[in-house]
Structures are given as C-alpha cells and as structure tokens.
C-alpha cells in the first residue's frame, strides 16, 4: 500500500540525464513498440469476437444476436442454475468465513498464518482433481443435487474471500472497536452486526463479487459433475449456433470486467477514507 501511494511521486529523480537525450528517445521508442504490440494482441480478439457475433448469414451486421440471447434454448435454465449456485455459494462463504476471520484476527493471532495457509490450499489442488475426490467421497444424496457444486465452490472461493476479508480486517483497529463496543454495553451480536459488519462493508462486497464471478464462470467441476450451468451451456450450445456462443462469451467477459472495475472503485474509496482506522 505504501509503495502504491508513493509511486507517482518518485518518478522524477534519475530520469533525464545530460547528454542522454538520444538514449531516452530510443528507450521511449522501444516502449511504445512494446505497448503497441501488447495492445494489438489484447484488443484484436475482442474486436474479432464482436465482429463474428454481429455477422448475419447474408453478410450484414445486426445486434439482434445480443437481444436474442435470453430466448435461446436452454439459456434460462442454465443461467438460472448458475445464479442459484452463486447465491448459495455466497451465503455459505460469508457465513463461514466472516465470523472465522474476525475470530482468528481477534482471539487467535497465533493461528492466523495456519488459517491463511488452509485457505490457500484450494489453489494447490486443481478443481479437476478435487471433483474426482468429491464424487468419490460424497454420499449419494449429495451427488444427486447440483448444490454439491455450491458446497465445493465455497471451497474454491476461500482464497479470494479470505484475502478480501483479511485486507479489510487489517485496516481496522479491531481490538479497540470491539473493546469500545463491549464497554459501552454491546453484546457480542450487537458488536458483530452493528460495529464490525458495517466497518467491513467494502471487504464483504469485494468478497461477494469475487465469489459470484467465480461461480458464474466455473466450468470444470460443473461439466464433470454433469450439470448444465451457464459456462457449460455456452460450450454445448456452440454446436447449434456459434454466433450466439461467441456473443454470450463476449458479454460474460464484459460482465466480469464491470464487476472487477466495481471492486477497484470500492477499493479506492476504502483507501481514501479508511473507516475506523487509528
């Protein structure tokens, strides 16, 4: 954080040196070539996808493909299932992670590293491996429901949710807040719901957005567990109409992009006015 805020200020020293005019020019020429090449590589696929999506069979262009998406066969069910999974996963993640993260920060600072290590574990175990173990170990009743996916998505979301919450908690003076609330007569529930959660608002929102984005985009586990969630539908539907699949993909990427921009906006606001920071 320190590096981030000070970065724009420290650029001046050492940049232009006497007699180095040509070298600077050469270097900045190189810089623009690099950035231009990167820009082309990253933007051309977006442009190509947009062009492909709006092409009509007779060679014209039409935005109809976008407005027609909700009517495509299977879309409402697949998208509905993904939304349901996103809601259930978010509830599980928040109910499980928020109290635990607060408790660990407040009462068990010694096990914080261990806790952090456990939340990172899902990164070491690839989803494709995890789902094999899950389908092996889960009881039949759970295997018959798509909500088994939500239970596992909460595991996949742990690293992201924990990091958001951890950042939020570290920015707070947790001990002072809790002691103040307790000494003013607030019970544990009051302290939690009326003091801590409002202060953690932006961290909670970031954790929620990351979890939702993860669930809406997850393909591996859903396809191997044979449930047609939104990303699985996109792949299956490609056989019927490739234009629709490309259009939906483009929308999904733009949607993810908007969600992430939202997080960075929340983040900036949190930095400029840190609530409760001492």
């Amino acid at each position: 954080m320190v590096a981030l805020t000070s970065a724009p200020g420290v650029e001046s020293p050492g940049a232009p040196r006497g007699g180095a005019g040509l070298a600077v020019l050469k270097r900045s020429w190189g810089r623009w070539v690099v950035l231009l090449a990167a820009g082309v590589y990253f933007l051309v696929p977006l442009y190509a996808a947009l062009r492909f999506a709006v092409q009509t069979p007779d060679g014209g262009t039409s935005l109809g493909v976008f407005s027609g998406i909700p009517d495509q066969q299977g879309f409402p069910d697949a998208f509905g299932l993904s939304i349901k999974l996103a809601v259930v996963t978010t509830v599980i993640t928040l109910v499980l992670m928020v109290p635990t993260a607060i408790y660990v920060h407040l009462r068990l600072p010694k096990v914080r590293r261990l806790f952090e290590g456990i939340t990172i574990l899902p990164i070491v175990i690839p989803p494709v491996v995890l789902i094999v173990g899950v389908l092996q170990a889960a009881p039949g009743a759970l295997k018959g429901t798509p909500y088994l996916l939500a239970l596992e998505y909460a595991v996949l979301a742990m690293p992201f949710a924990y990091r958001s919450l951890d950042a939020g908690l570290q920015a707070l003076n947790l001990k002072t807040l809790v002691e103040a609330s307790r000494s003013l007569g607030g019970g544990w529930l009051t302290t939690g719901f009326r003091v801590l959660l409002p202060n953690l608002r932006s961290a909670l929102l970031a954790a929620t957005i990351l979890t939702v984005a993860l669930v809406l985009g997850e393909y591996t586990m859903a396809s191997l567990d044979q449930y047609e969630t939104f990303p699985v539908w996109v792949v299956v539907y490609d056989q019927a109409n490739a234009h629709v699949s490309v259009a939906v993909s483009l929308l999904a990427l733009v949607g993810t992009w908007l969600l992430l921009i939202l997080i960075s906006l929340i983040d900036t606001r949190r930095r400029s006015s840190p609530p409760g920071e001492s």
Partner: protein, 309 residues
C-alpha cells in the same frame, strides 16, 4: 508492508510459548476452548477439502478389485499415454509460463520506466481485468480470432500467409499456448510490478556514479535483486497453466492429451476395467507437482522480500 508483519508474527511464538509451557491445566483448557471458535470452519474444510483430497490419495494406492494396497495405479499413471500426458502438460506449462514471464517483465518494465501516471494506472487496471479472462469465454474469443476462419487468420491469408498451412492450429498445442498467453502475460505484469517498483533509483544512480554500464548494473545489481521475484512469478504462472482445464477442453473437446483432460475422461466413464483408480493416481501426481512448485515459490518469495519491500 508485508515484511514487518511477517517479522512480528515470526517473533511472537517463542515469546508466547515459553510461559505457555509452564501454564497450568486450566490455561490449556482455555486455549483449547478458544480453538472451538474455528471449529465450524475446520469441519467444513475437512469435509469438503480434506476428505476429497484424502479420497484421491487413498484411491491412488488402492487396487480397484481387491481394495488392497497397490502401486499398480501409479505404475500405469507414469507410463505410456499417461506419462506422455504429464510430459505434454509440463511442456505446455513451461512454455506458457516462461514466455509470458519474459513478455510480462518487458511490458511491466516499459510501463514502470515511463513517467506517465495515467499509463501506469491504465495498464494496472487492464492487467487486473485480462488476468481474470479465462475459461470458456476466452476459448470463444480465440475461435473468432485465430480459428480456421477467424479474423486474424483472414488478415494473414490476405497477405498470402495461412498459418494453418505452417503447422499452426488453434485446436492443438500451439493454439492453446497462444490462448494461455492472453491471461498469463497480464498476470505476470501484475505480480512482477511490485518487484520492479522495489528497485530503488538510488541503486541505479550509485552504479552510474561508480562508472557501471547499463549492462553491468543489470548483471550485478538489478538482475540478482529481481531474479527471485521473477522465478517466483514464473512458478506462479506455471501452477496456473498446469491445472487449467476449461479453456483446453472447450477448444479441443479433449483431443489434446494433457493430464487434466485425461483425468476428466476418467469421470466421463470411458475406463478400462481394472484402471478405475488411475484417474486418482493422475490427480495425486498433479497435486504432488503443484505442491513442489508452491514450496519453491514460497522459498523464492522469502528471498525476494530480503531486498524488496
């Protein structure tokens, strides 16, 4: 900022443990009671993370017919097509971590040495966005671009060069590698930028004053300081590429035999009798490889933090 925290928590345990050793039974009971607060989380992680992982490890060593202990699954998993799968996976992951590692470093350096704050912010935001593009949507983006009738292929055909006549295909190794660059390069930019920011201008000035050339500065000062961060970042990219499944599956429908795809086919039911547990052996192999990579990564991160904070 991360360093003082690390140091303080590293310094804490000895201070606390000394009295804890002498603590009475009541004290022990109290700290056991304190651990009850993390019980729900521990139970959940146990049921949905540890138990499935244990099932993989157990299954990897279990004979599917007799239920007894066997090394046969691992034997099959590390021979023939499955060994080839690991080799292809590792080749793909090395290429799609080293190449974007270098390109990402170049881009991050180009941005870092610029004096435009707006450029820095724009690249950092864009990297955060593109690093999260992945899975199925990315596959379709590239079908429209470098698929056999994609836009970029049409352009190249227009100037008389059809990449599909020269061994390139989106649906094989080369194509998959190209697609992976799309999220690996921005990820590299994100993770290496803090390290570049940690290179202090004063070091460069000191080297200049002592008469060092640019090459000498990089070989003797900048390079050694950056190296652990660079290698660590490349390992992070390797881990991501190695465990990726969705993009490849969506593009090739499983025809590119990398290990994650092979594991997937075991779940889809096309399994020879007696080989039911080979998929678990493959999964076990993947977890071991990623765990080794992550341990080396952690060691490199520790080294990197010596100079860069």
């Amino acid at each position: 900022m991360a360093v003082p925290i690390e140091q303080s928590s590293a310094a804490l345990p000895p201070d606390d443990e000394a009295p804890a050793g002498r603590r009475s039974g009541a004290g022990l009971l109290r700290s056991a009671g304190a651990l009850l607060g993390v019980l729900p989380f521990a139970v959940y992680a146990g049921l949905f993370l540890v138990v499935p992982t244990a099932a993989i490890v157990f299954g990897a060593f279990q004979d599917p017919e007799t239920g007894g202990f066997t090394l046969g699954n691992l034997g099959i998993a590390f021979h023939g097509i499955y060994l080839q799968g690991f080799v292809t996976s590792i080749e793909l992951s090395v290429i799609t971590s080293v190449v974007p590692g270098v390109l990402g470093l170049v881009i991050a350096y180009a941005v870092q040495t610029s004096r435009s704050g707006a450029l820095k912010r724009a690249v950092s935001t864009a990297s955060g966005v593109f690093a999260n593009f992945g899975g199925v949507p990315l596959a379709f983006l590239f079908i429209a671009t470098v698929g056999s009738s994609g836009l970029a292929v049409d352009w190249l055909k227009g100037v008389g060069f059809n990449p599909y006549d020269h061994g390139f295909s989106l649906y094989t190794f080369s194509g998959i590698a190209l697609v992976y660059l799309y999220f690996q390069i921005p990820l590299m930019v994100l993770v290496i930028t803090p390290a570049l920011e940690g290179l202090r201008p004063a070091w460069r000035e000191a080297a200049d004053n002592l008469g060092a050339s640019g090459w000498q500065y990089w070989r003797l000062v900048g390079g050694p300081v950056l190296l652990p961060s660079f290698l660590g970042s490349v390992l992070l990219l390797f881990g991501g590429a190695f465990s990726a499944y969705a993009t490849t599956q969506a593009l090739t429908s499983g025809s590119l035999a990398i290990t994650p795809i092979q594991i997937g086919t075991f779940l889809n039911g096309n399994v020879l009798s007696g080989q039911e547990n080979v998929g678990k052996a493959l999964g076990f192999g993947m977890v071991v490889i990623i765990a080794v990579v992550m341990v080396v990564y952690a060691v490199l991160q520790r080294r990197a933090s010596k100079w860069l904070h």
